[in-house]
């Protein structure tokens, strides 16, 4: 974060590009607001000691069900800080897919050991900054094995970070929601690394990095680590 270079004043940007940036911002603000509902709904259970995975799942399940019913998300839930639960060092109260399956624990194929998610961006960044974050596009091999934009919000209870709540948006979904606006703007949505989220140019795939010499003016999408690249 903080590496986003804002070049060019918004004055030079077309109305369509500004509208595209607002649309991206509105989508993720909607996700963040829905995650705030889950976060505050979990505060009570997070004060329980010792807290067991089963108690967490019981509290998080109905909240996550509402979250997933309200928005076009692939999955979502609460991911515990390592060591926060009494009975599992690492735990994901996370539901995903058509059947909304509970993930619980994620293991590395080939070694069978649990994945330590504490170093991946969608966990680390909101915990370190204390703010909502959008990670991606990235292939999420911890949760879904899908190409994803993951929104995560830190959960702090009594001054202590106990985990993150998050929601997954498939790139497929994002494309279907935003392609119209992106085309209208003739622009590309990029993340803070100037990695393409969605481009109006059909030859520029999602995931490609835009080289420094090819970067035009960037319109930020509010406080999100995303922007609309024009020109």
């Amino acid at each position: 974060m903080g590496s986003m270079v804002i070049e060019g004043a918004s004055g030079s940007a077309s109305p369509a590009a500004l509208a595209c940036a607002r649309e991206v911002e509105a989508y993720f603000q909607g996700v963040i607001e829905a995650l705030d509902v889950v976060r505050s709904g979990l505060e009570d259970v997070c004060r329980r000691t010792p807290l067991l995975a089963a108690d967490l799942v019981a509290a998080a399940h109905p909240l996550t069900r509402d979250l997933l019913a309200g928005l076009p998300l692939f999955g979502g839930g609460f991911v515990a800080a390592p060591g926060f639960l009494a009975d599992h060092h690492l735990y994901l109260a996370w539901w995903q897919g058509e059947e909304q399956q509970l993930l619980a624990q994620s293991t590395v194929s080939g070694s069978g050991d649990p994945v330590d998610y504490s170093r991946v961006e969608w966990y680390r960044t909101p915990v370190e900054t204390g703010r909502a974050h959008v990670t991606g596009p990235f292939v999420d091999y911890v949760c879904s094995d899908e190409y994803m934009l993951t929104t995560t919000v830190p959960v702090e209870v009594d001054g202590r970070i106990v985990g993150v709540v998050g929601a997954d948006t498939l790139l497929d979904t994002f494309e279907s929601l935003l392609l119209g606006a992106v085309r209208e703007a003739g622009a590309a949505v990029v993340n803070q690394s100037f990695r393409v989220v969605l481009s109006a140019d059909p030859r520029v795939p999602t995931g490609r990095l835009i080289a420094p010499e090819q970067r035009g003016a960037l319109i930020p999408c509010g406080d999100l680590p995303l922007g609309v690249l024009v020109g």
Partner: protein, 249 residues
């Protein structure tokens, strides 16, 4: 993790072609659901599974479908079946790590099969490395590098886990979910065997050198060098495994 690949032999393919239409794929789905639950630890080691008929009733499939799924899980070493009064199918997750089970699996493999699997692994991961060199940014490479065990750590378990996670992360850097799932399947299939040589500190040191070459290549966006670094490590891993294999036969 989801999407485990399962062996699909000729006989099974033929069986699936001529199975009643509504049952096509059901055994595979039952098998995948149970395999995922075992690998992820939701079903615990030593836990007894419901009987064939109980499973069939619970999942709403024919008994023969449940049986087919259990046969496949047994072939993968994920469950074992005990006969007699306390008989039934038990989860054998521990076997995922059991060196004897790995040795037995290796001994049962032909030299041709070993190289066949090694080749597939090598081509796919070298390809991932080449694409990752194009797509990875500095933070991605930092994350990869953080997976390597600390200098002086010679614990085989740490090395095997780190190497498996590194390959998975590398696959994800291709920005292709299908490629990543392919690698998940390859890892579930052959990963544990391919990492047997990582018990040897000398091979650990070699692996560290190769991975560091890979990180340098990724930072330089040098696809050729990235491909070569992965290839060098995997070539030697297959060589070491082949020598180990020869000692069993």
């Amino acid at each position: 993790m989801t999407s485990t690949s399962s062996p699909r032999h000729g006989t099974r393919t033929r069986g699936a072609i001529f199975a009643p239409l509504e049952d096509v794929g059901r055994a595979v789905r039952v098998e995948q659901r149970l395999a995922d639950a075992i690998r992820s630890g939701v079903l615990r080691d030593g836990e007894r599974l419901p009987s064939e008929s109980e499973l069939a009733a619970m999942l709403g499939v024919a008994t023969v479908t449940a049986r087919e799924a259990l046969v496949s899980l047994r072939a993968q070493g994920l469950i074992s079946t005990v006969r007699g009064r306390n008989g039934g199918s038990y989860v054998t997750r521990a076997k995922l790590h059991d060196p004897d089970a790995q040795a037995a699996r290796l001994a049962a493999m032909s030299r041709v099969e070993l190289h066949d699997r090694g080749t597939l692994h090598l081509v796919v991961l070298a390809g991932c490395a080449e694409l990752a060199a194009e797509y990875a940014d500095a933070a991605d490479v930092d994350l990869l590098a953080s997976l390597l065990p600390e200098a002086g750590d010679a614990d085989p378990g740490h090395w095997r886990h780190a190497d498996a996670e590194l390959h998975l992360t590398l696959a994800a850097l291709s920005q292709s979910a299908r490629m990543t799932r392919q690698v998940v399947g390859l890892e579930a299939d052959f990963g544990a065997l391919l990492r047997q040589p990582l018990g040897d500190p000398e091979f650990q040191a070699f692996t560290r050198t190769c991975h560091e070459e890979l990180f340098t290549a990724l930072r330089a966006h040098d696809g050729d060098a990235a491909r070569k670094a992965v290839r060098r490590q995997l070539d030697r891993a297959v060589d070491e495994l082949a020598v180990l294999h020869a000692s069993y036969r």
